[in-house]
Amino acid sequence: MAETMVRMGELATSAVAGDVLVSLGLGSCIGLALLDRRLGVAGLAHVVLPSSGGNAPLGSWKFADYAVPELVDRVVKLGARRPMLEAVLVGGASMFAVSKSSLEVGQRNEAAVRELLREQHINVIAKETGGSRGRTIRVYVGSNKVTVKEAGGTEKPLIAGASVVAA
C-alpha cells in the first residue's frame, strides 16, 4: 500500500488496490476524485483556481479547465470506463471570513469543476464543500472508499465501498 500526496496543482491516478491518494488541508482548493467503482480505478486532482484564462502552458493542472479533462483522460488510460466515472468533491471553503476574494476563489473553484464535470457527463455522487473549514480528502483505491477529515476531527466516509453515504 502506498499513500500518494497530491499537492497544489498536482494529479494522481491508480488502479492498484490498497493505494491511497491524499490531498492534505484543502482550503479554497478543490480535491476532485474520479472513480470507476466497478473496476477499482481512481484519480485525484488538487485544483487551485477555476480558470486558466486560456493562455497557461500545458501541464498547468492547478487550473480546473486543464485539470478536469486531464484527470478524465488519465483514469480512462488506466482502464476506467468513461460512462462509469463518478466524482466526489471536497474543499472550496472560504478560510478567511472577512476576505471576500478568497471566498470567491473557493466558490468559483467548485462551480468551475462542477460545470466541467457536467460537460463530461460525470455525476457528483458525494461532496463536502463550502463553509469555512479546511479538509483532507483520502481516496482508497480498490475499496472505493473516499473520506474527508476536518481540523481536529476524525476521518469520515463520504462514500464507502459500493454504497453511497451522502450525495
Binding site: L26, G27, A93, S102
Partner: protein, 194 residues
C-alpha cells in the same frame, strides 16, 4: 519556472529582514517585551512544494492575513501555532480560543503586518496600503493554500519570505510570510536594482 539569482534572493531576504525588524519593534511595543527576529528565509518554490516547506499541512494553526493594495499587490500572512497563540494571548491578558483571543491575534496581525508593509513600501519606494486583517484557525495547509491560491495563483512558483519574531523569555514566536503577486517579485527586484 522563474529562477532568481543568489544576489536577488539575498536582496529579498534583506528586505524581509528590515521589514520584520520594524514589525518586531511594533510587536515589542504592544507586548511590552523585547522581541527578536530570526534570520529570514527566502523561498522560491514550485507551488506544490510551498505548503510542505512551511510545516505539516494538517497541523493546527492560526493565520492572520492582511492584503497589500497599491503598486505591489500581495498578502502578508502571520502564522501562530496553538502554543504560540496561547502564549501571545496570555501576554495580552486574554484567553486563547475565545472571541477576545482571536481579536487579540488579529490586532497583533494588524499592527505587526501593517508596520511590515509600510517598511517594505518605504524601502522600495512604493505606495503600499494594508487591508484590514482576517483570521482563521484551522489546518496549516488550508490557510497557506488559500493565500497562495489568491496571490501566487497565476504563476507556477511561490515566493515566500519567511521570518520569525521571537518574544524574549517567553519561548513564543510568530512566523511571517510575504506572498507577492507574481509580477511583484520582479517589481521589487527592479526597485532594489538587482
Amino acid at each position: 519556472m522563474t529562477r532568481y539569482t543568489d544576489t536577488q534572493l539575498d536582496a529579498l531576504r534583506e528586505l524581509a529582514n528590515i521589514g520584520s525588524g520594524t514589525a518586531s519593534t511594533a510587536l515589542s511595543g504592544m507586548l511590552g517585551k523585547s522581541v527578536d527576529i530570526s534570520v529570514p528565509n527566502a523561498f522560491v518554490l514550485p507551488m506544490a512544494e510551498a505548503v510542505g516547506s512551511i510545516g505539516d499541512p494538517e497541523s493546527d494553526s492560526t493565520g492572520v492575513v492582511l492584503g497589500i493594495v497599491g503598486e505591489m499587490p500581495g498578502s502578508v500572512l502571520l502564522l501562530f501555532t496553538p502554543k504560540d497563540a496561547e502564549l501571545m494571548c496570555g501576554l495580552l491578558g486574554v484567553e486563547a480560543g475565545s472571541e477576545y483571543g482571536i481579536s487579540a491575534l488579529m490586532e497583533i496581525g494588524n499592527i505587526v503586518g501593517a508596520s511590515y508593509i509600510n517598511a517594505l513600501g518605504q524601502m522600495i519606494g512604493m505606495e503600499l496600503e494594508p487591508t484590514p486583517p482576517a483570521a482563521a484557525t484551522d489546518m496549516l495547509g488550508a490557510i497557506v493554500q488559500s493565500v497562495l491560491a489568491e496571490r501566487a495563483g497565476a504563476g507556477d512558483v511561490a515566493l515566500l519570505l519567511d521570518s520569525d519574531l521571537v518574544v524574549e523569555g517567553e519561548d513564543c514566536s510568530v512566523s511571517f510570510l510575504l506572498v507577492p503577486d507574481q509580477g511583484g517579485v520582479e517589481q521589487m527586484l527592479e526597485r532594489l536594482g538587482v
